[in-house]
Symmetry: C2
DNA sequence: TTTTGTGAAATGATTCACAGCC
DNA sequence: GGCTGTGAATCATTTCACAAAA
């Protein structure tokens, strides 16, 4: 709770059902891989094959799944459908989760139409903005509403997840209003650190951060080409 | 390298300058906090204050900075400007990084105009799409070009970072073309696992994954309200 | 006195390797 | 024979706590 950041620290207190955070973060990937397998007609899969499809090691996959229970068959593998069910349940996807999205600029539009939204167990309860020119605009199934209606919607639909797609300068205020309305999980696309009470979860997605991290590795790849050459030439071990 | 995923595993081989991945992932946050501090007129800051501004613990901040060098003054703190310089350098932000963006739908538009792009050391070398109706469209400073021009642009600008903002079904092909053109770091917004050669870095941003992770915690908050009550009532320890 | 920098301890995550089951 | 589930071992990260420096 209150971790924030795509690669945030582990949640300090795990109340029950000790599924490690690192495992939880990989479960959606397993689900996606399983669905692709199911679409391809597979009904059963080994840890090796599923791990490859999900881009992890097979030992890691088995360890991850072992935190959820024992749903495989030795010598055979896993039932695709059964595993989808158990992972979905562990993630709390047994129900439909209404989500509110605040900020209907380009990013908001993109998120609203992402597909992976309505597709999985999420549905957009409402879209909000404060720009009068956008209020009333139709986006997908929804009409954009004024942020002042937030409390009504959150109350009526029992929303507990909010997505912030506003400019940075508006994000903290929107966040405060979401929290005041009763939202307890926030996905923040604005490049700001949000201050929230401890019971509220925040995850952050930040383009600039991601680019800078890539940059670090890229930066180092440059040296990887140069430094070994230098090192070798200095020891006279050049082979070519 | 080849890690993929916002919370991917640690890069297996660190070639030089042992900055842990977890630290690298936090450096952009420190940079942002420092700039906010600088804008507010601060010229010096303690680890405690900076840590608070960045949303981490002060011990963690100091340990992270210690991987870059020893740039503080005991009893005083850090020079804001100096620290910005050293963190920027560690991240490889000493130069301007040209970036290509493929996929100019809503998401692509949002990314192109994000601000945090041109703002930090990144510049968009070109925007690409394959939809004939979009080719030639102006977005910001740029004109949308056909993906077939990719090689030319990557060659001419020495681009090594690519951003994929296409639908999922097109992502792997776009990725292959980026890699073939010489791009070695990819930021992927499409909900697919990309297959890349080992020297290529991929980071993934996926709305649906993030929502599902939030969902897990949300799901558990529900039990936090119910289960302790059950446990207590079963032991007869109810105090109210 | 204040605050950094850092060994050492504690915690957490991943990988190994194999016993156990089909 | 093949594959899962899992303790034990390894590796990484975070936190503690304090000596050293200004």
């Amino acid at each position: 709770m209150g971790e924030q950041g795509s690669r945030g620290p582990a949640a300090p207190a795990r109340l029950r059902a000790g599924v490690p955070d690192a495992t939880v973060a990989r479960l959606p990937g397993y689900l996606r891989a399983l669905r692709a397998l199911a679409d391809a007609g597979r009904t059963t899969v080994s840890s090796e094959a599923l791990a490859t499809a999900a881009g992890v090691g097979s030992a890691q996959l088995r360890k991850d799944l072992s935190h959820l229970g024992s749903y495989g068959t030795r010598g055979v593998g896993y039932e695709v459908a059964e595993l989808v069910f158990h992972i979905s349940r562990a993630l709390g996807l047994g129900r439909r989760w209404p989500v509110v999205l605040v900020g209907v600029g380009n990013l908001g539009h993109a998120l609203a139409g992402y597909g992976g939204f309505d597709d999985r167990g999420f549905s957009i309860a409402a879209l909000f903005d404060v720009d009068e020119r956008r209020i009333g605009e139709r986006v997908g199934e929804q009409r954009v509403r004024h942020l002042d209606d937030l409390d009504d919607v959150v109350g009526a639909f029992g929303v507990c997840i909010g997505v912030i797609a506003t400019p940075a300068h508006a994000a903290q205020d929107v966040c405060d209003r979401l929290v005041a309305a009763g939202v307890t999980s926030i996905l923040n696309f604005a490049p700001t650190l949000l201050r929230v009470p401890p019971q509220v979860d925040v995850r952050k997605v930040d383009l600039s951060n991601e680019l800078q991290i890539l940059c670090f590795h890229e930066h180092r790849k440059g040296f990887a080409l140069v430094e070994p050459l230098l090192d070798e030439s200095m020891t006279g071990e050049v082979s070519a």
